[in-house]
């Protein structure tokens, strides 16, 4: 409905291209209406009084102390209207903070002055993001240097990308097109040029684009290569014999730490454990065994390894589920029983074959009784599903 308001071809409104956009716009119009009414009322009153009570000789002003009733009225009524704005805005904001389970995950790395995108199927792009109409997308974002902020006005989404943190946003594109992507947090000399385009494609076009892109292995497969090259597999064995924790079925689970607390093994925790392993040691493991990889691995490399570790889990619990639903898998470690099949499947070289095979093959049959991989694919697979 509100695609644009062209007046002599000057766009005065951003394109509406995501499921969230019309909701934000509706609230924005409500705010515009309230603002217009309030502003015009004040203007009208000021102008009316200015003319009506213009200084005239012989006409004395009427001194009025005030009116508590009026004061309360014009305090409470505006506040009630503001409560509507507050509740409405919060409702949309909460929905924006919780990506749906079927969202495709794309990793984003911001650095002075470019955006790097890594798709689940292993594809990479710089300053250009391809997404499919109707498919929810979750961007998991990190920064290599200063604070950036990823903004896609046509989708009404924006989130800061803070170094040392993982930040996320999600959207469901609804309209094919070519839309601006901006950095909206000042990040240095070429800040104005740290941007690019989001290409929203219909299903056939998206499939054509996917087929045409040169992809060497999925993100998880690249992660496995990285995992092996960095020597991670030496200690993180797929059984209980390794000097490091078994990473199978780790992702998204609550784990015990050596200091007695627990932590959810999410993107941020895994990233921290790679870059600064001694920050949080899993219970019954020793500190100072794993080398510090900070500076040894790029942000993209970290993303790939995380994708690989995710692929070792049969089902990835979506972040919005309550923590109590997560199983405790690591530690007390001696209670954990792992299938012997894990090790044999995990070490099978997976560089060839259909893109999603590695992700699917690695954890197959690891844990009897849990959900089968086919029904709840790991995010790494989703980019190539359709």
């Amino acid at each position: 409905m509100f695609t644009s308001f062209p007046i002599a071809n000057i766009p005065l409104f951003p394109p509406v291209a995501s499921a969230q956009a019309p909701e934000v716009d509706a609230l924005y119009f409500f705010l515009n209406v309230v603002t217009a009414i309030m502003t015009l009322s004040i203007f009208a009153a000021v102008i009316y009084f200015a003319f009506k009570y213009k200084r005239r000789p012989g006409v004395e002003p009427v001194q009025i102390h005030g009116s508590t009733k009026l004061e309360l009225t014009w305090s409470i009524v505006p506040f009630l209207i503001m409560l509507v704005m507050f509740g409405w805005g919060a409702k949309i904001f909460f929905a924006e903070a919780q990506p749906p389970k079927n969202a495709v995950e794309i990793f984003v790395t911001g650095k002075q002055w470019m955006w790097k995108f890594q798709y689940g199927n292993g594809g990479r792009e710089i300053d250009e993001l391809h997404v499919e109409v109707g498919q929810p997308v979750k961007l998991t974002m990190s920064s290599e240097d200063v604070i950036h902020s990823l903004s896609i006005p046509a989708f009404r989404v924006k989130h800061d990308v803070v170094p040392g943190h993982y930040d996320a946003l999600w959207f469901t594109p609804t309209k094919a097109g070519h839309y601006h992507l901006f950095c909206t947090e000042y990040c240095g000399a070429q800040h104005a040029h740290m941007g690019g385009w989001v290409d929203v494609l219909d299903k056939p076009d998206f499939e054509k684009w996917e087929a045409g892109s040169e992809i060497q292995g999925t993100l998880a497969e690249k992660g496995l290569t990285e995992f092996e090259q960095l020597g991670c597999a030496t200690c993180h064995l797929m059984n209980q014999q390794g000097r490091g924790p078994n990473l199978t079925n780790l992702y998204g689970k609550r784990i015990y730490l050596s200091n007695g607390s627990t932590v959810i093994a999410d993107d941020a925790y895994i990233r921290e454990s790679i870059l600064d392993p001694n920050a949080k040691i899993v219970a019954s493991f020793q500190p100072n065994i794993m080398p510090v990889f900070d500076g040894q691995i790029s942000e993209e490399g970290v993303n790939e390894v995380i994708a690989y570790i995710k692929s070792l889990s049969q089902s990835v619990p979506p972040s919005q589920e309550g923590a109590h639903q997560w199983q405790i898998v690591l530690a007390p470690p001696n209670t954990l029983k792992s299938g012997a099949a894990v090790k044999s499947t995990a070490v099978v070289p997976t560089a060839s074959g259909p893109p999603a095979s590695a992700a699917r093959a690695a954890p197959a049959g690891t844990k009897p009784g849990s959900v089968t991989p086919a029904t709840t694919p790991a995010p790494a697979q989703k980019g190539t599903q359709q």
């Binding site: 766009p11 409104f13 951003p14 909701e23 934000v24 609230l27 924005y28 603002t35 309030m38 502003t39 004040i42 203007f43 009153a45 009570y53 213009k54 200084r55 006409v59 002003p61 009427v62 001194q63 102390h65 005030g66 009116s67 508590t68 009733k69 009026l70 004061e71 014009w74 305090s75 506040f79 503001m82 704005m85 507050f86 409405w88 805005g89 919060a90 409702k91 949309i92 904001f93 909460f94 924006e96 200063v146 604070i147 902020s149 903004s151 046509a154 009404r156 924006k158 989130h159 803070v162 170094p163 040392g164 601006h180 947090e185 000042y186 240095g188 000399a189 800040h191 104005a192 040029h193």
Partner: protein, 541 residues
């Protein structure tokens, strides 16, 4: 006291009591210190304004190639730093506050006159450090100094600029302290809290924020310097810090700081609307109380600058609600000013034109603040020109209108001269029109997504940017005209007499310009402020 005899200007007053340069530079007369500040911040305003002009020139074309990206980034950073810390924060308190607070409460000076002079020199030192940064190539961090860009990555003169702001902050603290003590201890007999002009209430609230908030800014900038110089990890995650911490600390000061900037302006408007309507201010108690409410609430809304930084969504919820709450006392003021005009006797003298401008523009500035308090809408507008437009509506449309209103209202008192009626009205109208043309298009650009701090932008945004630059030209002319006629009035203006506006208030009962000690005899106050006639009982409601 009602004799309106226009005396020759040659009478001894604070301006001509002594003539040497030393008598000005080492003065401890609050009125002379106010003049020193007025001259100094006017220079800073012109410097900051010329940066703004350069910004608008560059943005007239989408390629933005009038200046290089590096130069442009320094321009907007220095514009922000100079305007916020060296003009807006000190503007009304150090000039009109210094000049008027003692007189309005019936005192001969502030509580600590020497501290007042020290405060000026601290401010000047801070300002000169910032200017040093400008001359030596500038600073490119934006006025917000966000880490880790400012602490690790920027190659510009971050430390000099930050040190300048750090020093200027102490001036702000000392001035605030001086005003608080002055208002508590030096009120004339009979000048009860309930009889204080609302200008005083606004400055009291402002001073509280200055004293309580500014140390946090000092701490923040000190930590920034420690990280930049000694590489101690505080904000930079590469050495163990957290950039979000910087934002919490920075906005803990800088959100209250916007109320440091606007509250004194609100005090001015209360004085002006009353004088030019010849009426007491409608709902005095509520207007006074709302200043204090703003001072308190301003400290618990800083998180609304951080909704999209990864702050927990529940924290976002709390800060959003509190931000709506702080809008209520501002709304109360606008309604009361408007109601003050009801059944008044309204004249259209130049200061009143600025009141009209202030009420209109501050209303828009305030209401667009609600957009930014609304979580989902903030996501779209954060970091865009919508924010730029919003705070310019409040800071320029509100605060600068109030500053100019105050300047035109009290100029005859401060200098003893009247300025050109015609030219001052022309300038007021030009400023109002130019301001709206400059900043209204930026709301539209903002919702379309145009980010702030861009030296180049997509071509479809050009039309609105050209309108904005055209408006800035009109605005610039509007600012130059008062400089000319005000300076002209110093020599050629008509003598003003004690009370050219027929205003109530102690400052209008003494000579223009006042004598060095303001009052020959300390007055005894027997009536409420704004006594323009006997008040009726509450009749509306």
């Amino acid at each position: 006291m009602s004799t309106e005899v226009i005396r020759p200007v040659e009478t001894v007053n604070y301006l001509n009591a002594q003539h040497s340069v030393k008598s000005w530079l080492l003065t401890i007369d609050h009125k002379r210190i106010a003049i020193l500040y007025l001259v100094t911040i006017s220079v800073f305003f012109l410097i900051g304004g010329s940066f703004a002009a350069a910004i608008r020139i560059n943005l007239a074309s989408p390629e933005g190639n009038f200046f290089s990206a590096e130069t442009y980034n320094r321009l907007f950073s220095m514009h922000g730093i100079v305007m916020v810390f060296l003009f807006l924060v000190p503007s009304i308190p150090t000039t009109f506050g210094n000049f008027l607070i003692p007189i309005m409460i019936g005192a001969r000076d502030v509580a600590f006159p020497k501290l007042n002079l020290l405060s000026y020199y601290i401010f000047l030192t801070g300002g000169l450090f910032a200017l040093f940064a400008v001359v030596h190539g500038g600073v490119d961090t934006g006025w917000t100094f966000y880490a880790p860009y400012s602490s690790t990555y920027s190659n510009s003169y971050v430390l000099a600029a930050a040190f300048g702001v750090f020093i200027a902050g102490f001036s702000s603290i000392i001035t605030g302290l001086n005003f608080i003590v002055t208002i508590h201890k030096l009120r004339a007999p009979g000048m009860t809290w309930g009889r204080l002009p609302l200008f005083i209430w606004a400055h009291y609230a402002t001073s509280l924020i200055q004293v309580l908030g500014t140390p946090v800014l000092a701490i923040t900038l000190l930590l920034l310097a420690v990280e930049r110089i000694a590489k101690v990890g505080i904000f930079d995650p590469n050495i163990g810090g957290d950039p979000i911490l910087f934002q919490h600390l920075f906005w803990f000061y800088s959100h209250p700081a916007v109320y440091i900037m606007i509250l004194p302006g609100m005090g001015v408007i209360s004085e002006l609307v009353s004088c030019f309507s010849k009426k007491r201010v409608f709902g005095y108690d509520f207007v006074a109380f709302s200043s204090m409410a703003i001072a308190v609430l301003s400290f618990i809304v800083w998180g609304h600058h951080m909704f999209i930084t990864g702050l927990s969504m529940y924290a976002g919820l709390a800060f959003s609600l509190l931000s709506f709450l702080v809008a209520v006392p501002s709304a109360i003021k606008v309604f009361n000013w408007t109601a003050t005009m009801y059944k008044g006797s309204i004249s259209y003298d130049t200061p009143m034109l600025y009141v009209f401008g202030f009420i209109g523009l501050f209303t828009i500035g305030g209401l667009t603040g609600l957009y930014l308090a609304t979580l989902a809408v903030d996501v779209q507008t954060h970091g865009t020109y919508f924010v730029v437009a919003h705070f310019h509506y409040v800071m320029v449309g509100g605060m600068l209108m109030a500053f100019l209103g105050a300047l035109h209202f009290w100029w005859p008192k401060m200098t003893g001269r009247l300025y050109s009626d015609v030219w001052s009205k022309v300038a007021a109208v030009l400023i109002f029109a130019g301001f709206n043309l400059t900043f209204f298009p930026q709301f539209i650009l903002g919702y379309m997504g145009m980010p702030r701090r861009y030296h180049a932008y997509p071509p479809e945004f050009q039309t609105l940017n050209v309108l904005s630059s055209a408006g800035a030209t009109v605005l610039g002319i509007g600012y130059v005209i008062p400089i000319i006629y005000l300076l002209w009035s110093l020599k050629h203006g008509e003598p003003a007499g004690k009370n050219p506006w027929g205003a109530a208030g102690l400052e209008w009962q003494i000579e223009s310009p006042p004598t060095t000690h303001n009052f020959d005899v300390i007055p005894t106050v027997t009536e409420e402020a704004y006594n323009y006639g006997p008040a009726e009982e509450v009749i509306i409601g």
